[in-house]
């Protein structure tokens, strides 16, 4: 039998991402049987290994649909009883970049290699902020851990109170935000972190999540040249092995852009592909990846086992609800409520439960949707950007007839207006206050 070996070559990955990129294989000629050949597979993002696909000898067209939506294409001839190799990602542009240490960040094409270095794909906000006292001033006044300082970017990890109080804090003006956040930053501060790499323009921090009370929400507060970003830290994040995942936080201080950009990546090989597609919102082609993931098994493990990772279950559920026909996933009616009930500190669980009902409501279940949305609000700001949007959209449906929902909508909308929708996890942007 002949084979196609397809690889998405990501230089410097410390672990293979088995379910990395969705690819489509089509034969350029009809098969001997007179049928057309078309197949969708999921290709690993790896420094070495690819996936083998059994094919008849012939000529094939292979398309890789990246999380960014970009389509890479290659033509390949397969001879009899041989293996032909198709490798994406190791082109000349890739060779230009010193990409090893950025392999997890570049995987979703949030960064595009260019001749002058790495270029952020999306433009950032223009700078029209007015001045505030520098973070250094706050550092002198209030006890916290500063985990790294660059020329223009500094990072703090702050504990934001869980629950509904977070909405009002984050919705407040920037100076109050700092004071309130930092005032509450008492006691042990969270995970160890270190500055992994500093090129002057790019700064990469790594944070190792560890056993901690998951209801204690932690945020990365990044002071950038012209503004601030408050990034939800998805910790603790347990891998399938039971160990804790590292979280990477990259700040891009491209001087050609008016405002820097920060992004978070969880180094989970099993879910990196899913999170990349979720973060980029490119769910129209992600179905093969989700089917390969064996969603039920993942969710069962993520929420049932002792070493649970309900955040992973939420990521899977956000994608699954968007991709699958509801009739295909009736078993979800059982575990989605568990995600809400077993992890009351997790706003996304309640949001997903509400969304599930909305998409296929039973008799008199409308009330349950509103209850779940309110419960989500009381649990605090969602971990996932999709959760913030779904919470806002859900409350919009009920705000005209429910006063409490209307008040919640004001708070959620205020926060949502700061949301960076191009990332999987909640990332809020602030300008300098008056």
């Amino acid at each position: 039998m002949s084979k196609l070996n397809i690889l998405f070559h990501q230089v410097g990955l410390t672990a293979d991402i088995p379910l990395g990129v969705v690819a489509r294989i089509s034969r350029t000629e009809m098969e001997a049987s007179g049928r057309e050949y078309f197949k969708e597979v999921v290709v690993p993002a790896s420094s070495a290994r690819g996936i083998d696909v059994d094919v008849e000898p012939g000529s094939y067209w292979v398309q890789a649909i990246l999380p960014s939506g970009r389509i890479l294409q290659q033509y390949c001839d397969v001879a009899g009883e041989e293996t032909a190799h198709v490798s994406f990602g190791d082109d000349a542009a890739a060779a230009e970049r010193d990409a090893g240490w950025l392999s997890w960040q570049t995987f979703d094409e949030g960064l595009i290699p260019g001749s002058s270095g790495l270029l952020r794909q999306a433009p950032t906000r223009p700078s029209f902020w007015s001045k505030i006292p520098s973070l250094e001033t706050f550092a002198r006044l209030i006890r916290r851990t500063i985990l790294g300082r660059g020329d223009q970017a500094s990072l703090s990890v702050v504990a934001c109170p869980p629950g509904r109080e977070a909405w009002s804090i984050v919705a407040s003006e920037t100076q109050d935000l700092f004071r309130q956040l930092l005032r509450r930053n008492d006691g042990d501060l969270p995970a160890e972190a270190f500055l992994e790499k500093d090129t002057g323009r790019l700064k990469l921090w790594k944070l190792k999540s560890a056993e901690q009370d998951p209801s204690q929400r932690r945020w990365a507060l990044i002071g950038l040249g012209n503004g601030l970003e408050l990034m939800c830290l998805p910790t603790p994040w347990r891998l399938a092995s039971g160990e804790f995942a590292e979280v990477e936080l990259l700040v891009d201080m491209d001087p050609e852009r008016l405002h820097p950009r920060a992004s978070i990546v969880v180094r989970d090989p099993d879910l990196a592909g899913l999170l990349a597609y979720l973060g980029r919102g490119n769910l129209s082609s992600v179905r093969p990846l989700v089917e390969s993931l064996d969603l039920e098994k993942l969710v069962d493990r993520a929420i049932s086992e002792k070493a649970a990772n309900p955040l992973a279950a939420c990521a899977a559920a956000y994608v699954g609800l968007a991709v699958f026909d509801l009739a295909e996933r009736e078993r979800w009616d059982g575990w989605l409520p568990n995600l809400m009930n077993w992890f009351p500190w997790l706003p996304d669980g309640a949001i997903l439960h509400a969304r599930r009902i909305l998409l296929r409501p039973g008799i008199n279940e409308n009330e349950l949707v509103l209850l779940a949305l309110k419960r989500a609000f009381h649990a605090g700001i969602p971990f996932f950007a999709a959760g913030v949007v779904l919470l806002r959209d859900g409350l919009l449906l009920y705000a005209h007839k429910d006063q409490e929902a209307n008040a919640m909508l004001d708070a959620v909308s205020s926060v949502a207006s700061r949301l960076d929708q191009r990332q999987a996890f909640t990332n809020l942007r602030f300008g300098r206050g008056a």
Binding site: T28, S59, I65, P361, L397
Partner: protein, 425 residues
């Protein structure tokens, strides 16, 4: 009847179904519904389209009431009215959905002068609404009223013009900035509008937003405001539609915080790609291979590929985006057209080649270096079935003629002709 008149009658009969002239507007009051350019008047399930193309903004740069302090660098646009007309033309000539046939098309077009729309199938040309905020709200209300007769209806909302974003999309209408202290009175809050539409009757709703999603100083100043811009509708009670919101697919021309590009004196890149996708590149084989439909998911994949190619040609970058991956059928092309890119190995051989794409014995299309501009790639639109590609080369090259069979796969395919030297024999 003479041969010439028979020919003319047959020709007219062939085109009659697709290009039958519309009634002259009897029964329709175009004064109260000036946005209508097509209306078939039946109550059966169907497709109701609203197309908004805002090219002229009096208060932005270059407008007759220019206010540079609020323009934020935004000026007049050529592409939106052109894109709007091209899409309307496509719906009248090529749209085919036997389950939900075309029932109505409404248009709002903002140009420097009042706009009309002419087409053999359209209502008699008349001045169209020009796109002020209050006008657009009224048009939307009437569009919803027309499309709410049946829950099986499909609605299509298309907007082309300026857009800004701050986690919610705001579409700028013609009178944006006319009220300097209430500039968003001339804007539509897409996020709120879309959520409100989820509570309306039509079960399947397609939104196509061909606009930038750039951040805006103005939106930042009103951060915290729940809904900047007009919402056009208030959400109804979900119980009125059984508790389940409508199924929506929202397609954006570009990613969040990014620009979308349009041509001077031409349609936008996205509209050009959209039409390619609707014409066949966006067919979804999984619906039924023998019964091809353009669906929302495959359309998004196709448009992404085409925009990337068009943008690269113009040396810009633009990546379309989609909110919600709800899958439903849009259109069943009567003739599927999928781009096939034909290249050779070695590449330069194509510059001295003749290549034919044949279906059975018919030459559907061909490239000949002696007649066309010599190029290393020939792009041809073919239907979704096996074609035979014949290639012959200038005798000086010494290559054998080649013949291979190729089925173009959506959204686009490649066919590489491996040139063999005659000398090998």
């Amino acid at each position: 009847m003479s041969c010439g008149r028979w020919t003319s009658w047959i020709s007219n009969a062939f085109t009659r179904e697709r290009f039958a002239p519309m009634p002259d507007g009897d029964g329709l009051d175009l004064k109260t519904e000036p946005e209508l350019v097509f209306f078939d008047g039946t109550d059966e399930p169907g497709t109701h389209v609203l197309i908004v193309g805002i090219g002229h903004y009096p208060c932005l740069l270059g407008g007759e009431k220019e206010n540079s302090s609020l323009a934020e660098g935004m000026g007049q646009l050529d592409a939106p009215p052109i894109s709007a007309r091209k899409l309307a033309q496509w719906f009248l000539e090529d749209f085919h959905n036997p389950e939900k046939p075309l029932r109505s098309i409404a248009m709002v077009v903002s140009e420097r002068e009042p706009s009309t729309f002419q087409h053999a199938r359209a209502l008699p040309p008349h001045p169209l609404p020009r796109g002020d905020g209050a006008e657009v709200e009224d048009v939307i209300q009437r569009w919803i009223a027309r499309s709410s007769g049946k829950s099986d209806n499909l609605t299509v909302f298309f907007f082309c013009g300026h857009g800004i974003s701050s986690a919610q999309s705001v579409l700028l209408l013609r009178d944006y900035g006319a009220k300097p202290f209430h500039r968003f009175d001339g804007a539509l809050n897409l996020s709120a509008f879309r959520v409100g539409m989820q509570t309306m009757t039509p079960n399947e709703q397609l939104f196509i937003i061909d606009a930038c999603r750039m951040p805006s100083a103005a939106l930042d100043k009103v951060r915290g405001e729940v809904r900047p811009g007009r919402t056009a509708i208030s959400p109804a009670d979900l119980d009125d539609r059984g508790g389940q919101p409508a199924r929506q697919s929202v397609h954006h021309a570009t990613s969040d915080l990014a620009p979308a590009y349009g041509r001077v004196d031409g349609p936008s890149l996205y509209t050009e790609a959209l039409l390619m996708g609707l014409n066949g590149g966006g067919v979804q084989p999984n619906f039924d291979p023998s019964n091809l439909w353009v669906g929302t998911n495959a359309l998004q994949t196709a448009v992404s590929a085409y925009v990337a190619r068009l943008a690269a040609k113009e040396k810009v970058e633009q990546l379309p985006d989609v909110s919600g991956a709800i899958s439903f059928k849009i259109h069943q092309p009567l003739e599927v057209a999928i781009p096939l890119h034909v290249i050779s190995h070695p590449p330069e051989a194509m510059k001295q080649a003749r290549v034919e794409a044949r279906l059975d014995k018919d030459v559907k299309s061909y490239y000949d270096f002696r007649e066309h501009e010599a190029a290393e790639e020939w792009v041809v639109n073919l239907s979704y079935c096996a074609h035979t590609i014949f290639a012959s080369f200038h005798e000086n090259l010494g290559f054998e003629d080649e013949r291979l069979v190729n089925t173009p796969m959506p959204p686009e395919s490649y066919c590489r002709i491996n040139c063999r030297s005659r000398l090998q024999q």
